[in-house]
């Protein structure tokens, strides 16, 4: 029961974007003996899921999504020292690599995708902005992700997404990864023309597609 109270408080802190209070709330949970892993997975993560839902429904905006993420980070700073080695391991999670392509310094959409992928249970590896094709291919070789997400905001940089797909083919890595592309100028026709598996119409739709792929993967489809 006491645990429930603390878990609820952690959930509420995320939902209410309580930057000032999260440190004390997380510390109180640890002091009361709440399992650190439970504090994360049963307290803060459901809070982020609810924030994500409100974002999808248009009740929350990017600012709320970002600040809730910050609250979660602050909570993690308190809880992480209590985690025992091996707890919270991401070994079993499907990986998704996400990058804004070379020449483009926009990351708002990409960051939304990274946040929502995390909420959906992916281990999201964010390569950042202005990432050359060779770097992306190398990261795919190392991590062997289920999904590669490529983002571009400019019609002048979206051609780089095609370069990445060609480089994946040349490296023999294309078959092992689903490639999803997105960003303001990117259309389904364009995604088809460069050989992507899917064009994300927005961050939410894109993450839903990734989740569908993950289910297919688990079911061996």
């Amino acid at each position: 029961m006491a645990d429930l109270k603390h878990l609820r408080a952690l959930h509420e802190a995320i939902l209410n974007m309580d930057l000032e209070g999260i440190g004390a709330i997380a510390q109180a949970a640890m002091d009361a003996g709440v399992e650190p892993q439970a504090a994360i997975t049963d307290g803060m993560v459901p809070g982020m899921v609810e924030v994500g839902q409100k974002f999808e429904e248009g009740e929350f905006f990017l600012s709320e999504l970002v600040v809730a993420g910050e609250v979660m980070k602050d909570g993690m700073k308190v809880i992480e020292p209590y985690l025992t080695v091996g707890a919270g391991s991401s070994d079993s999670k499907a990986k998704a690599i996400v990058a804004t392509v070379e020449g483009d310094y926009h990351d708002i959409g990409k960051n939304i995708v990274v946040t929502l992928l995390g909420v959906q249970g992916f281990e999201a590896i964010d390569l950042g902005m202005d990432v050359p094709a060779a770097k992306i291919v190398e990261e795919v070789r190392i991590h062997r992700p289920a999904v590669l997400g490529l983002s571009a905001l400019l019609s002048t940089t979206m051609a780089r997404m095609g370069d990445v797909i060609e480089a994946l083919k040349a490296a023999g890595l294309r078959e092992g990864v689903k490639v999803i592309v997105g960003g303001t100028p990117v259309t389904p026709e364009y995604a088809d023309s460069i050989g992507a598996d899917h064009c994300a119409l927005n961050a939410i739709e894109g993450v839903h597609k990734c989740t569908e792929w993950l289910i297919d993967l688990k079911e061996g489809k």
Partner: protein, 379 residues
């Protein structure tokens, strides 16, 4: 009736009056020069040219620039602002083509990327505040007068400011990558609030200077996108700033536009409450999230300069023609709309000619039959 000049056409439409045909024009900093551009201009395409009416002087601020890397292709430059209350610095990356006017390979030949922001933490705000409290803005109309003289009736010269008010923090000084601005706004609300008011006050002389300038039109190039600017922020910070700007500029008989090339659906009911005359660079779906028809219906007092979607250009001239026809069909009788050929670089000659082949025949008022006729003429 004599055919209107390109300038007359653009001004008529922007004043919500019926022009002889749909005005279409290319922005100087995105426009190629050559045979296709000349051909399109001969067929009715105008030019727009932005020049500021003012200069900025930061008193008591020592500004130094050093190259952290330099090749003739790419430079990384650190700009440092040293003031009596502290020092801040930012880093920008200049790509091939920078300083060569436009159009080499990318888009950032005009505006370099900032790869390190000046406002990194709470201590930096006092420095920026000092800078804005010691900013002197003075009139300088030469550039506008010269451009008007050069361009004549071939298009419109406008006055502009890249960003104002909160956008200066969101886009320039704090930045939005990684949600930085939102984090600052949540963690240091008082500092952000104070900074916004300092900027707003510092810009008051600019509005007065612009009101007396030789330009007919002033553009707030705010890059509004509701993904970043949610309705709460819009109401609190943007609407008052636009009110202040428009009060001064309307007093001088100027039209005011806002560069709003992002997704505007979340702001669609607030935009009519603003005194802005022109929504500039509206992008229809998929790049934006409001169609021309919906925007025209929602904002009966506004004029729309629609930006042609770059993603369609990527699909070639036939797709360009189809999109242009679809947009004409969504414009009703067609007044209150101007077409901007692009708000990005790299419009191919073929695409520019394709778009012109549709728009050159778009006489006003538009009718479905007239658009059918245009479509037939393209075959």
């Amino acid at each position: 009736m004599a055919e209107m000049t390109r300038r007359e056409r653009m001004l008529k439409a922007s004043r919500r009056q019926m022009a002889d045909r749909v005005p279409f024009f290319h922005n100087w900093r995105h426009c190629q020069q050559g045979w296709a551009e000349r051909d399109c201009r001969n067929r009715g395409m105008g030019l727009s040219w932005a020049r500021p009416s003012y200069t900025f002087t930061w008193h008591g601020v020592e500004v130094t620039e050093t190259y952290e890397s330099f090749t003739t292709a790419t430079q990384t430059l650190r700009r440092t602002f040293k003031t009596p209350v502290g020092t801040i610095s930012q880093v920008e990356k200049r790509e091939p083509g920078y300083g060569q006017w436009h159009g080499v390979r990318g888009w950032r030949d005009v505006t370099p990327w900032q790869t390190e922001r000046a406002i990194k933490g709470p201590d930096d705000y006092k420095v920026l505040k000092y800078m804005y409290e010691n900013l002197e803005i003075e009139p300088d109309y030469f550039g506008l007068e010269q451009a008007k003289d050069w361009l004549g009736e071939d298009g419109m010269v406008w006055d502009w400011v890249p960003h104002a008010g909160l956008q200066l923090l969101m886009i320039d000084w704090v930045g939005s990558e990684g949600g930085r601005f939102f984090v600052h706004h949540a963690r240091y609300p008082d500092l952000v609030e104070e900074m916004y008011h300092a900027i707003s006050k510092a810009y008051e002389p600019l509005w007065e200077i612009a009101a007396s300038s030789p330009a007919d039109f002033f553009l707030l190039a705010d890059n509004v996108d509701a993904v970043l600017v949610n309705p709460k922020l819009f109401k609190k910070y943007f609407m008052p700033e636009w009110e202040k700007c428009c009060t001064a500029l309307h007093g001088g008989g100027k039209l005011v536009g806002v560069h709003a090339d992002g997704r505007l659906a979340a702001l669609k009911h607030l935009i009519p409450e603003t005194p802005i005359d022109v929504i500039e660079a509206l992008h229809v779906p998929q790049m934006g999230d409001l169609s021309l028809g919906e925007a025209l219906a929602l904002w009966p007092e506004k004029v729309i300069w629609t930006g042609f979607p770059g993603s369609v250009y990527a699909l070639g001239p036939q797709a360009t023609k189809r999109q242009a026809l679809a947009m004409l069909r969504d414009m009703g009788t067609g007044e209150r709309v101007c077409f901007e050929m692009s708000t990005e670089n790299q419009v191919s000659n073929e695409n520019l000619l394709a778009l012109t082949s549709v728009l050159e025949h778009a006489t006003l008022p538009l009718t479905p039959e007239k658009i059918d006729e245009i479509e037939r003429s393209l075959k």
